[in-house]
């Protein structure tokens, strides 16, 4: 099976581009044959230049005949080996006879005079032609195989890259779709109840919910966001949570004005804040506070999320008993690694007396993800 039937255009172009190159190689072999005939076989009756004309005629005809017959018989497919070599042998002999005749006419030689030489050395010349034909065939054959392998490798590489990109995209979407049904339904329940109790507050809460949903669900399309946008998103999320948790939650966001327009990949800060709520503050009877801060330190950007929740070891599966564990946090680490290599750090530590301190330390000159 020829795997390239499905892509005729690149292959046809490839063949066209190959013709001058192939002609040059055939000519070089023709030249070599003329040298062999003149100086090795010592065909006394003709000069090197005459022999060159002969070998050019025979060689080029052989290439044209063999290639023509191949395309006629097998099209652009890979021909079966044995019949093809038989074709090469037969084509070479035919090319010898025709090419010889053509060269004689081109050189204006009397047919009889040369017929003498033909009779003497015909077997040698024909053998040489067949040999040259076979050698060239083997050369072109293996070259075609290498080319096909290269195309196959390139196709495979492109496919792997596409698969990887898709996997990345799927993972990103999964990450970004991490709006928990519990969170959403509880928020909607609060909202619906609030409409009857305090309509203006319900209105404000709905605005925050829309902002949160829009930013969270659409960040799959935006590869970078700004610190200002990210902090606005956190403000909306914490606003929602504070309506739900009431006096149990207080929060503060601190973003210096000069850092507002700084680019930041989405979904780095948000999981940390959501983790702090979900595993630190929501399950804590008395609740507590959360403080999100951005700070510039030389050429580094430092983001901190500090909470006064249950702390690292009390939170169990979520913050994970193992410091730095947990699915959400593993995702943050993976993303940092993918985006910055080793140039970014993420640490999770205790925030005495209780609670967790999450720290992101990023290069200030952010590379734009390609």
């Amino acid at each position: 099976m020829n795997p390239f039937r499905s892509e005729p255009l690149p292959r046809a172009r490839l063949l066209l581009r190959r013709i001058p190159y192939d002609l040059a190689i055939v000519s070089a072999v023709n030249l070599a044959c003329a040298v062999v005939v003149t100086y090795v076989m010592r065909d006394g009756g003709s000069s090197f230049w005459e022999n060159l004309v002969f070998s050019m005629c025979i060689g080029t005809l052989a290439m044209a005949l063999i290639n023509g017959a191949r395309i006629l018989l097998w099209g652009e497919g890979v021909p079966p080996k044995l019949p093809f070599f038989a074709l090469v042998a037969a084509g070479s002999v035919l090319a010898y006879v025709l090419g010889h005749e053509l060269a004689m006419r081109l050189l204006g030689l009397p047919p009889r005079e040369f017929a003498h030489g033909l009779e003497e050395n015909a077997v040698g010349f024909i053998s040489l032609t067949v040999l040259a034909g076979l050698m060239l065939t083997i050369f072109f054959w293996s070259r075609a195989e290498v080319a096909e392998l290269k195309i196959a490798a390139a196709t495979e590489k492109a496919r792997a890259a596409a698969v990887e990109r898709q996997a990345m995209q799927a993972q990103l979407q999964l990450l970004q779709a991490q709006i928990e049904p519990h969170m959403l339904f509880n928020t909607l329940a609060t909202l619906q109840s609030l409409i009857g109790i305090d309509a203006p507050r319900a209105q404000h809460m709905l605005e925050q919910l829309i902002h949160y949903l829009r930013a969270t669900l659409s960040s799959s399309r935006a590869e970078t966001t700004t610190l200002a946008q990210e902090f606005a998103l956190m403000d909306a999320y914490l606003g929602l949570m504070s309506v739900r948790m009431g006096a149990r939650l207080n929060y503060a966001l601190e973003l210096p004005a000069e850092l507002r327009e700084l680019a930041l990949p989405p979904m780095l800060l948000q999981p940390l804040v959501e983790n702090a709520i979900k595993h630190g503050l929501e399950p804590k009877i008395d609740g507590g506070g959360i403080r999100v801060e951005a700070r510039r330190d030389g050429d580094r950007l430092r983001l901190t999320v500090a909470d006064t929740g249950l702390g690292l070891d009390a939170a169990g599966a979520g913050h994970a008993a193992v410091p730095g564990g947990g699915v959400g946090l593993a995702n943050v680490r993976e993303r940092l690694q993918a985006l910055y290599g080793g140039a970014a750090q993420f640490t999770l530590s205790a925030n005495p007396p209780g609670g967790v301190l999450a720290r992101l330390d990023l290069p200030l000159s952010l590379p734009l993800p390609s």
Partner: protein
């Protein structure tokens, strides 16, 4: 007893203030004669208030800080005084997931947040019907206990057996063979390891420890107690019907909760 004489009392346990307030208002609308106390805002307060107020009806949010609704129901089933009728429990949740099946079985009813008046009216009708039938009320505690027995001992996947307990006492580590432990007793965030020679505290929860113990040797007899059967001499009932275990090598007796009393029925 004439139901009209003593008002029906309810307790709401809901950690989200807006939702608690909304449920309170809706109940007041649909069941004006119901006496509703302050809303308990977490699982611990729910247990405390329920035991203190002994309500007839208990609306329990499932996801609360401190304890889940099911944990609250379980603690109440264990600690509820024999003399008082057990409250009818209605679970309330915002999100329907597989965990609800357990709640569904243990409750009289369960409703989704936000609770609509139409749905809550059905719940109220169901509760009123139950409360009117004295016989039903008497069986409620037994029914809950039966349900909890089938739901709760969801054993975690067995883990490698623990043979030695390393307990820090002062600045040294004491090594206690598990076979020598008379019982384990939960104490806040710690676990008290009790042997014939004395006690030691370890920083492990009973939930984490249980899968590492031989289930044929160590039995849970209360939400906070696991006893080594080797040291159990007798199970006895006191005059109020409460079951407790007499132990070898320890002077104290261990109470067996309602949920585990069936383990010590005579053959």
């Amino acid at each position: 007893m004439n139901p009209a004489a003593a008002p029906i009392r309810a307790l709401i346990a809901e950690d989200e203030p807006v939702l608690g307030h909304a449920l309170l208002q809706a109940l007041q609308r649909l069941w004006p004669e119901l006496a509703i106390g302050a809303v308990a805002e977490n699982g611990v307060a729910a247990v405390r208030e329920a035991l203190a107020q002994r309500p007839d009806v208990l609306f329990l949010d499932i996801k609360m800080p401190g304890k889940t609704g099911l944990e609250v129901a379980r603690e109440l089933a264990e600690d509820w005084p024999d003399a008082a009728p057990f409250p009818l429990i209605v679970f309330v949740t915002a999100y329907d997931d597989y965990a609800l099946q357990a709640f569904e079985q243990a409750a009289v009813d369960y409703v989704m947040k936000p609770v609509t008046d139409a749905r809550l009216a059905q719940t109220v009708a169901r509760l009123r019907a139950r409360l009117a039938t004295q016989g039903e009320r008497d069986g409620e505690l037994e029914r809950i206990v039966q349900q909890l027995r089938t739901i709760l001992p969801a054993p975690a996947a067995p883990q490698p057996r623990l043979t030695l307990i390393r307990a820090g006492i002062g600045n040294q580590i004491r090594l206690i063979p598990v076979a020598d432990v008379v019982y384990f007793e939960a104490a806040d965030k710690y676990l008290n390891v009790v042997t014939a020679d004395g006690d030691a505290l370890i920083r492990t929860s009973l939930k984490e420890l249980l899968p590492q113990l031989d289930p044929d040797q160590f039995w849970q007899i209360h939400r906070g107690t696991v006893v080594n059967l080797r040291f159990v001499q007798a199970a006895q009932r006191d005059e109020t019907g409460k079951l407790s275990l007499r132990l070898a090598g320890r002077p104290e007796q261990l109470p067996v909760s309602r949920l585990f009393a069936h383990l010590f029925r005579q053959m």
